[in-house]
């Protein structure tokens, strides 16, 4: 767990030292490429000018100790930020593609980034602009997520709240890192050292001199006006946090020397993509150094960074973020269950159900290094007491200390109807209305979220003359009611795709609790998926486990989670990735590694399938 002062900034190892290296190493790599191509550096503001006398002076210095870093940041600042202002650079061509590439930072990425730059104790109040799901992922929808008037208002509110905490009396010594000469006026040197450290973490690249000077000047102006040094810094910091340079992850490109005529992501875009893919956060010092030096473009450099990231505990954050997106957990924001029907479905249970599945996934994929497919059949999970009450599981807590939210490892006994993540409330409750189940909704969700299959929408002007009232004694169960859909030609095409899946989960009510009857009639949980018949949730889990669509789907979505677009499935490189995934017995970490190491993820496609349904309800 993080503690106060545990963020990247607080660790104090990321500052001037990094960028001395950045400049030095970049001088012979990116600069050469950029000059050949006539393109700018990542920031779009000019080349990394390591020929500058001041830069050279700095480059010859050895890396300072952590204890000395702050002093050096102040003393050597001009050299630390050797990226020239935009006026010296040649005009930069626009991106090689007209498809949207910039990804709006997701709320999860925003939170993790702020927690890592500063500290997890920083509270973020206010609502983020809603995300857009496209082609099955919010990560793809991020490519067409914009910022609205009210959305920017919210970002501004959140940013001001963060900035106020960064400079408050509790945190200022840690985060600002220096004491101003006067608490009631600006202090450019102190301010400069602060933004020299946090700026690259916020913008995911070095700041230009102009950018740094702007932050310092705005802080000084505000400090003077408000007669408060820290208030001035907060104003300038909050401005950075509403900048498009922070809210959007831009994919900037440069010619790919290995493939003449084609583009690749530049170093900073590449490490940013890697970092949000594997860690769900901003690139750290090592990644930014790899970008600056150009080593990230070499096979060995990329492997070094990917292997380092995969062996880091931070990988869990990336895995959690991916599966939260893939399984639609953001929709829990609008889930409610009627307490008169489901008194056990509390707010804690709603939150716990997501955490249960994420813990199950982390356990299976990271701790056990297990087969992805076993997520659908594994009896191993984790429960809180409240969740156990919902499930009717007799949970024994040997270390009971009165904490209802304590997580306890649990293994379903043989024959238990629950096994695998599809039997958990994170699936069964998420895809059910508030009062009744919807086998159609559950079946559609499984097709779309887990198997990557699109279910067409229902037709218009459809006749519902065969649908009868729930009070009709002939139609007491969902199966009986939905049989009408599957026999009515106009409806049958799609309902045959969805209902037999969802009906196999009818033993779970709308809240995810177990039941054997509906309206006094014993539930028949027989199901069918792509011609394979089975019985109940255990049968469904085994069938999904064996369905090649499940592994293809997770691979496709993992790639899209990194890049924002679907993979070119006919590309030999993609076939190689999926083959290695299979060869590893569907080890998900190996899949992440192969995607992260593949050129496919950093090759900018000239076009991509148009986003669909992204601005729908």
């Amino acid at each position: 767990m993080f503690t106060v002062g545990s963020g990247i900034l607080a660790q104090n190892g990321f500052a001037l030292a990094s960028f001395q290296g950045v400049c030095h190493e970049a001088s012979r790599a990116d600069v050469a490429v950029q000059r050949r191509s006539g393109k700018r550096g990542h920031d779009g503001a000019g080349f990394i000018d390591c020929d500058s006398p001041r830069a050279v002076q700095t480059m010859t210095r050895t890396r300072p100790s952590r204890a000395r870093t702050l002093t050096l940041v102040i003393g050597l600042l001009p050299a630390a930020l050797v990226v020239q202002s935009q006026s010296v650079a040649a005009p930069a061509p626009a991106s090689a593609t007209d498809m949207p590439l910039a990804l709006r930072l997701s709320p999860s990425q925003y939170r993790q980034t702020i927690a890592d730059i500063f500290d997890p104790s920083i509270q973020m109040t206010g609502s983020f602009e809603p995300e857009v799901r496209a082609q099955g992922l919010l990560a793809i929808g991020a490519r067409e997520s914009n910022v609205s008037d009210s959305g920017l208002e919210s970002y501004d509110e959140i940013a001001r709240g963060i900035a106020a905490q960064v400079v408050d009396e509790q945190h200022r010594a840690t985060f600002i890192g220096c004491t101003p000469q006067s608490p009631t006026a600006g202090d450019d040197a102190c301010t400069r050292s602060f933004f020299a450290r946090v700026g690259p973490l916020i913008y995911r690249r070095p700041l230009t001199q102009d950018e740094l000077q702007t932050q310092v000047s705005e802080a000084a102006k505000a400090s003077g006006k408000l007669h408060d040094y820290y208030a001035g810094v907060a104003v300038s910091l909050s401005e950075m946090l509403v900048s498009p340079n922070f809210l959007f992850r831009y994919k900037l490109t440069q010619p790919d020397p290995a493939r003449p005529g084609q583009e690749r992501l530049d170093g900073y875009s590449k490490v940013s993509e890697l970092s949000y893919f594997l860690w769900n956060t901003t690139p750290d010092e090592e990644l930014l150094k790899a970008a600056a030096s150009g080593s990230i473009h070499t096979r060995s450099g990329l492997e070094r960074e990917v292997n380092r990231m995969i062996s880091s505990p931070r990988l869990e954050a990336g895995v959690r973020a991916f599966f939260s997106d893939m399984l639609g957990f953001s929709d829990f924001d609008t889930v409610s269950k009627d307490p008169s029907f489901f008194p056990r479905y509390t707010l804690n249970v709603k939150n716990d159900s997501q955490e249960q599945t994420l813990r199950t996934i982390v356990d299976q994929l990271l701790t056990r290094h297990g087969d992805y497919r076993d997520l659908f059949t594994t009896p191993h999970t984790f429960l809180t007491r409240e969740l156990a009450v919902l499930y009717g599981v007799p949970l024994v807590d040997p270390g009971d200390n009165g904490e209802p939210q304590r997580w306890i490892a649990y293994t379903y006994p043989s024959g238990d109807p629950r096994s695998g993540i599809l039997s958990e409330a994170s699936f069964t409750a998420l895809f059910s209305p508030s009062g009744r189940t919807s086998p159609t909704g559950r079946g559609k969700a499984l097709r779309e979220y887990v198997l990557c299959e699109k279910v067409p929408p229902p037709p218009g002007n459809v006749s519902f003359k065969f649908i009868e009232d729930i009070s009709n004694p002939q139609f007491k169960t969902a199966r009986a009611r939905l049989t009408v859909h599957r026999t009515e030609p106009m409806c049958a095409g799609c309902h045959k795709l969805t209902d037999p899946i969802g009906l196999s989960l009818e033993n779970f009510n709308s809240a995810g609790g177990y039941r054997t009857e509906e309206n006094g009639v014993t539930i028949d949980a027989a199901g069918e998926l792509n011609g394979k018949k089975f019985d109940g949730p255990l049968g469904l889990g085994e069938t999904v486990h064996d369905d090649p669509a499940a592994t293809n789907c997770v691979a496709t979505k993992a790639f899209a989670f990194e890049t924002g677009y679907l993979p070119p499935t006919s590309d030999p490189q993609w076939k190689q990735i999926t083959q290695k995934f299979a060869d590893s017995h569907y080890n998900f970490v190996e899949l992440m590694r192969q995607i992260a190491l593949s050129n496919l993820a950093y090759t900018v496609p000239s076009s991509a399938a148009p986003l669909s349904a992204a601005n729908r309800q």
Binding site: E239, Y250, T334, S463, N615
Partner: protein, 449 residues
Amino acid sequence: MKPSTLMWTRRRLLRGMLAGGAVTVGLPIFDCLLNDNGTAFADTGAPLPTRFADWFWALGLGEEDWRPKNAGSDYELPPQLAVLKPFQKKLNLFSGSQVFLDGQSNNTHFTGVQGYMTGKVSNSGEYFNSINSTICDTIAGRTRFRSLEVVCDGDPKAGWTARASGKLPSEVSPTALYTRIFGPEFTDPNSATFVPDPQVMVRRSALSAVSDQRAALVKQLGAADRQRLDYYFTALRSLEQKLDIQLQKPEPLPACTKPDGSQIKDDGHPASLASEAMVRHNLFTLLFTHALACGQTRSVNLAITQGMSGLRREGDPTNHHTYTHEEPVDSVAGYQLHCAWFQEQYMKALHDFAAQLDAVQEGDRTLLDRTVLFAHTDHGAARLHSVHNYPFLTIGSGNGRLKTGLHVPKPGDAATRVTFTIMQAMGVPISSFGTGSNHVATPISEVLG
């Protein structure tokens, strides 16, 4: 909230102001602020502004049974709309029109609204530049908020307002909306004193620095991302304008009072009961009414739920949407009884909103009279997912821009004609609207004022 609590008459207003000691005014205040006719501000001669309210309810009104037999002013409101009887003279009911699919599929609960709100039907699911945002841009004037959007069931994506950048998110919490409008950044236009907030001044300056980043970014991006960047900077300009407005003393607005925040306690949690959503609705519309009267915005947008409404009655596990498909038409009543109950709740809410607006006197008219409140839904007959025979309502004349009290049947006509007519009435400078069979170039002239 009962409508009576909103009756802030001149006497009540003055009593409140004087008792609070906020400012000393000579009587009568309205005569000081408005011209002799009560139609414009006395000092500038500027007419009192026209407002627009967009109001969405889910799943229509039923099938054919709601359509009045008579056209024009001599018609009887159907039972589904009986609750609106007090406003019959101030409303128009449009019936019979449809959205043409032109070979595109009917993406249920979406395509119909897409058609009449954006003029275009497409399978891609795109939803841009809806008429409510176009109207908003036309009438916005100098207000803190270009528009306000809310949804009553807790889903911030359920609204129907979209700019070129896509759908606008909706506020789901009345408490949050109250803070946004009437929190610390609110300046009472009727306050005698005004001191610009130095915090706002420095924030405004800092945002200018963000604006300066545009040129550098534009050079690096492809066309699609440059366009998205433009959307960002459009939002930034709105935020800057909001701060600019906060730095200037606002014009006095006699009808403006700040609502009692202690009564607005609702965090916007997901609402599955119709009763919850209706209480929230009236909190939102109360805030809307105050915001409109206080010049904070001229355009408000509300959706009770998404089209596929999940609202239920207490004790009943089946939701409205499921009932539209599973409930048989009652052989005696001739309609779906459960569904009718939900429709009744929604129309009661519409009545309450209209009543709140009508309780505010602004010069010679009420706020409702200066507003066009446009009510619309996702399907003609929800039981059939029909895009025919849409019920549309307008309440209020928008400062006389619409004639009122009429039933306007347009069987088989394009529904876009209704929305085109409203846009023209609100002053949007367009001569036609819609594509394909939904293209219209002539408004419904009988309702134009």
